[in-house]
Amino acid sequence: MLTDTDPRVLAHINLFAVLGALPSLAEHAPEARPLLAAVDRPTTVRFRVRGLPDRALTFDRDGIAEGAHGERTVTLVLRSPAHLNAMIDGAAQPVPLARPAGLRFLTQVFAPLADLLGRYLRPSEEDLADAAFSEASAVITLHVAVAAIAQVANTDRSGRFSAGLIPDGQIALEVGDSLDLRLHARDHALTFDPAPASSPARAALTFRDLDVAGDVLAGRASALACLGDGSMAMRGFIPMIDNVSRILDRVGHYLGEQP
């Protein structure tokens, strides 16, 4: 157990898992639709963070997708991983490279969507009382968590140690019969594949429902206790699940409440 965290790993999580959840937000949060309706033409937001790979998301009226295929590009420049982390915390601003229409997109579409994402990832008690909100929040949080597992597995020292013990194959993180998110392990590197599963997993960790998933991912319930009472289940090549669980614990060091 490492007792410290690495700002560069957190930046990977923020760039690829947290901001990577924007497509899921557009799909599952009804409040995203009116915001996206304000998009006048497909717009790519490119994140340029010194020391990290470039990242691009394209926004249009129908949703948000990976990649740079917009008719307009807005670039957000961040001078370091720490700068990105501060931006995600709301404590710093990126340097935007954009024309006036692009700047309007940032203030009228991107920033409200980012705020909305924060609300779904850190819901209030009042929000959680709304069943539909709670369900969407759990789905989006699960996407962030699974994507973050891949980032930590590939960039964090403890995560790499755990990933070093994972053989090749697909690991499913399932919620009941409705969700099946896949991590692909190959040569001890993990990739999150948000596409629908197309082949059997070699190991699977299943949450009974989104309530259980939300409680476990938020630290409100213990995974071990849930495995004991049957609200979570595992099957397949268990060392894959065991090591993914250790990486998930490490994700909590980055995204969870600090002790």
Partner: protein, 418 residues
Amino acid sequence: MTATATTPYTYTRSREAFARAQRVIPAGIPGHQGPSEGCYIPQSAYPLFSERAEGSRFWDVDGNEYLDYMCGYGPNVLGYGDPVVDAAARRQAALEDVVTIPSTTMVDLAELLVDTVASADWAFFAKNGGDTTTLAVMTARAATRRKKVVFVKGYYHGVAPWTQKLDYPGVLEEDVAHNLYVPWNDVAALEAMFREHRGEIAAFISTPYMHGNFVDNELPAEGYWQGVRRLCDEHGVVLIMDDVRAGWRLDLAGSDHHYGIEADLVCFCKAIGNGYNLAALTGREALRETVASLTYTGSYWMSAVPFAASIATITRLKELDAPALFRRRGTELTTGLVEAAAGHGLTLVASGEPALFYLRLADDDSLMLHQRWVAECVRRGVWFTSHHNHFLNASLTSYDIARTLEIADEAFAAVAAG
């Protein structure tokens, strides 16, 4: 037990007890005897609490009966409630157990161990296997004044922080900073490791063969242990044999003896007392004064009842020539299981020593098919596990094995039916 087709068990009272447990015990049943680490897959196929045990069987709190091939994860070596061992324990209990100064029963047992275990010149007692592996590593470090310890990948030597890994909660990086890892059965890799860290390595610690979880167990290659012994001697490294799991089932003189060497330190627990709580580290003369110099003790480590039970256990194991019995019974059982699987078009692999056989259905690489088969066995009264090697005990009969094969066959049929 009946000889007719079984009705799958239900576990109402187990579930009720587990609900109580979850309110007052973290995770309900923590550790390897609980549903998570115990790999109860699916959890609904398994009971959670036992009520009584006898011989090769236990009964859960719902009254379901099991032929038990885990033997309490090893301690049950003669049969649950063995009358000879229990009588010896009762006699000692009538005299004393935990007292301010120890009973000479401790000396009697130490003498028996020194006479029985080929490499032993002394014995030091504790309670759990992990007590002895920790003591062994402390001894090696004190003797060599070196820090590093070489492990075999896939190892298990207990749960003390030094035995865990960098990514385990509650374990500090510093706890495992001096751990080095080599593959099993690879003398060349060990030699390279010893050369790379010349003068830094205190100990090489290993089980007598690779009985790791979730993988086929591997016996030592011809000449492997002799090569390890030679390298340890050349580099001044203490050779620790962790015989906690295999001890008393392969060779009463120690598993190091079984594979043709003498270890410097041997760790025993599990079967040493047929369930009475005891562990022992034995060692060679050269390390006697070192281990004597260590600060290492515990409140119950000199309790006399387990010493008496252990003397009775080891004596009975000798009378039975238990290792030979286990080899015969294990071979009979695993051969029958492999044949039964083949009868349903399935490929069951049995690996490791017959006394501690490991099973795996090889028809898919995810173990899901294997987990289904094991669950079907458990629900019909044969306690196998899907992740761990098994254990035999001396009370197991040919009738028990025949009944096991019947149930296994039913379970194979259920799995083969999809």
